[in-house]
């Protein structure tokens, strides 16, 4: 018999909801709560007046929100995505079934991405109840979130295929890259490193109500996709049992 991997997607999504969605939503909701608590009379007057100033204020808030959630949310969404099954021995029953290891984890990656976006959409929707956010700003924010998931998720997926402490590797890489990007701005070799700082640059564009750069985001996403594909190749070649 052939596995009904599509039918198993519901279970993978359920696992995401029970194990990761709450944490991602809490991170976002925490920021929404902070915004709610810190809206002073001046901000309220600005929002009430409406117009360009109010939308600029909303853009600044959403940029702060993105800065708060994009890396942490992506990390929560993918950490241990394949490594957990190996380290707990759960792979044994899963992959004794007629299941392609690659398809199983690729499907999980896609579903976790969808879950990540839904959690963030809920938080952004809550944010729109507090501050005015223009359609283009919201669209750009969603594009940046998708791209950030592809980058952080792709790198996390790669590390998870290699090592059980993938979250540690992701955090260390993130810190090291941001440090190097700050210390050596414009260095040619930076282009080889995960372009985390480019996500920050795009968030800065949202803050200043400028349109995000499509080409930059495509390049960032391409880096994430390359890491994801490399992760699949490693999963194909590496032994599941150690």
């Amino acid at each position: 018999m052939k596995a009904r991997l599509g039918g198993y997607a519901g279970w993978q999504l359920r696992d995401f909801v029970f194990e990761r969605a709450a944490a991602i939503t809490i991170v976002g909701a925490l920021f929404v709560w902070m915004v709610h608590e810190n809206l002073n009379e001046g901000s309220a007057r600005l929002i009430a007046a409406g117009g360009r100033e109010a939308l600029a204020f909303g853009a600044r808030v959403i940029a702060q929100h993105l800065g708060f959630v994009w890396f942490l949310g992506g990390l929560i969404a993918v950490h241990g995505i394949s490594a957990n099954d190996r380290t707990t021995g759960r792979f044994r029953f899963l992959f004794a079934k007629p299941v392609s290891v690659l398809r199983y984890y690729a499907q999980a990656f896609a579903l976790h991405g969808a879950g990540f976006m839904i959690c963030n959409a809920i938080c952004l929707a809550a944010l729109t109840r507090l501050v005015p956010i223009s359609g283009p700003t919201m669209k750009d924010a969603l594009i940046v979130l998708v791209t950030s998931y592809v980058l952080v998720g792709g790198i996390g997926f790669l590390f998870s295929a290699i090592w059980r402490f993938d979250w540690l590797a992701s955090v260390a890489t993130f810190g090291a890259v941001l440090y190097l990007a700050a210390e050596f701005p414009g260095a040619a070799w930076l282009q080889l490193l995960p372009p985390f700082w480019k996500i920050s640059q795009q968030i800065e564009l949202i803050r200043t109500v400028d349109p995000v750069e499509g080409k930059t985001l495509i390049a960032v996403a391409a880096y994430g996709v390359a890491c994801f594909l490399l992760g699949l190749i490693i999963l194909k070649r590496r032994p599941l049992a150690t």
Partner: protein, 304 residues
């Protein structure tokens, strides 16, 4: 169906000394056969099973199932597999775990509920169906592992790794009753176990492995070997001298029991006939060790 051709596996830890877990394994397992693997701890049984499921690739030689690499075979057809350590997420409920595994096994939705119920009933899991995996005793968890291994009745390969590990005597017996009906002309069943009695009852042949090497394969059908030295315990009433004449080298074990070494059934029966002819009454003659135990003791080096 399953072919090991000079299969070896060496683990090379980073910065450590390479460890040869399995070396030079050559044998085949035919469709329709129940094949046992016996060996002491660290003999390489788990590595062999991991290679058979494609979880590990051999570092030497070639291992195929139906002329395909194991991983290719598993991904196209699946294998009914019970691992020694049952790795199921602790938060899953028993019936949920079964439905998940049934989905992955490709059981059609329409047949799934019936199949899951059948197996829960077969393995006495109905009362545990709504419990979480973490709430189960070791034996019950083992039965869940067994149930998921049997979900797809069309699989051509079944692998049980220490199947009665943690089971109470009643369920151990039930397992033994469960295996014969699993036989199919197109199916190979592999059982790795420490329990030689179990293998002797269930397997057609048993590979004895020690320190990563195949030491011998014992045929369990027509089991009493005609050439191997076997020890028997004879309970008798009569002349001790007659016993020593019939079986030189016999050792007395208590007042009316002796242990004798013979090469095959012919020698045993000749000795017994001589005893009876001298008026000695024989109440029993039983192997001191089972055939497999005897072979295992001979095959596995004493310092293992």
């Amino acid at each position: 169906m399953i072919r090991f051709e000079n299969v070896g596996r060496t683990y090379s830890p980073l910065g450590g000394t390479p460890v040869r877990a399995v070396a030079g394994m050559t044998f085949t397992i035919a469709s329709g056969e129940v094949f046992g693997i016996a060996g002491p701890n660290g003999a390489g049984k788990s590595t062999m099973i991991s290679m058979l499921l494609g979880f590990l690739a051999p570092s030497e030689g070639r291992l195929t199932i139906d002329n395909q690499r194991p991983r290719e075979f598993v991904e196209s057809e699946g294998i009914g597999y019970l691992s020694e350590l049952v790795g199921i997420k602790p938060s899953w409920r028993v019936n949920e775990a079964m439905v998940r595994f049934a989905t992955l096994a490709g059981i059609p939705s329409a047949a799934m509920a019936t199949r899951v119920s059948e197996l829960l009933a077969l393995l006495g899991l109905e009362e545990h169906a709504k419990k979480r995996i973490k709430e189960l005793s070791k034996g019950t968890l083992q039965r869940v592992g067994l149930a998921q291994a049997l979900l797809d009745d069309t699989v051509r390969v079944i692998v049980f790794d220490e199947p009665t590990h943690g089971l109470d005597p009643l369920w151990t017996q039930s397992f033994r009753a469960l295996v014969p009906p699993l036989r199919r002309p197109n199916r190979a069943i592999v059982i790795a176990s420490h329990n030689l009695d179990e293998l002797e009852r269930l397997a057609d042949r048993v590979a004895i492995v020690d320190r990563g090497e195949l030491v011998r394969i014992v045929e369990m059908r027509g089991a009493v070997s005609e050439s191997a030295v076997t020890r028997y315990r004879i309970a008798f009433r009569g002349d001790e001298g007659a016993l020593r004449e019939a079986f030189p080298g016999a050792t007395l074990v208590g007042s009316d029991e002796a242990e004798v070494s013979v090469t095959g059934l012919v020698e045993l029966n000749r000795g017994l006939a001589a005893l009876i002819a001298r008026g000695v009454l024989i109440s029993s003659a039983t192997p001191s060790y089972s055939t497999l135990e005897e072979q295992f003791r001979q095959a596995v080096r004493s310092d293992a």
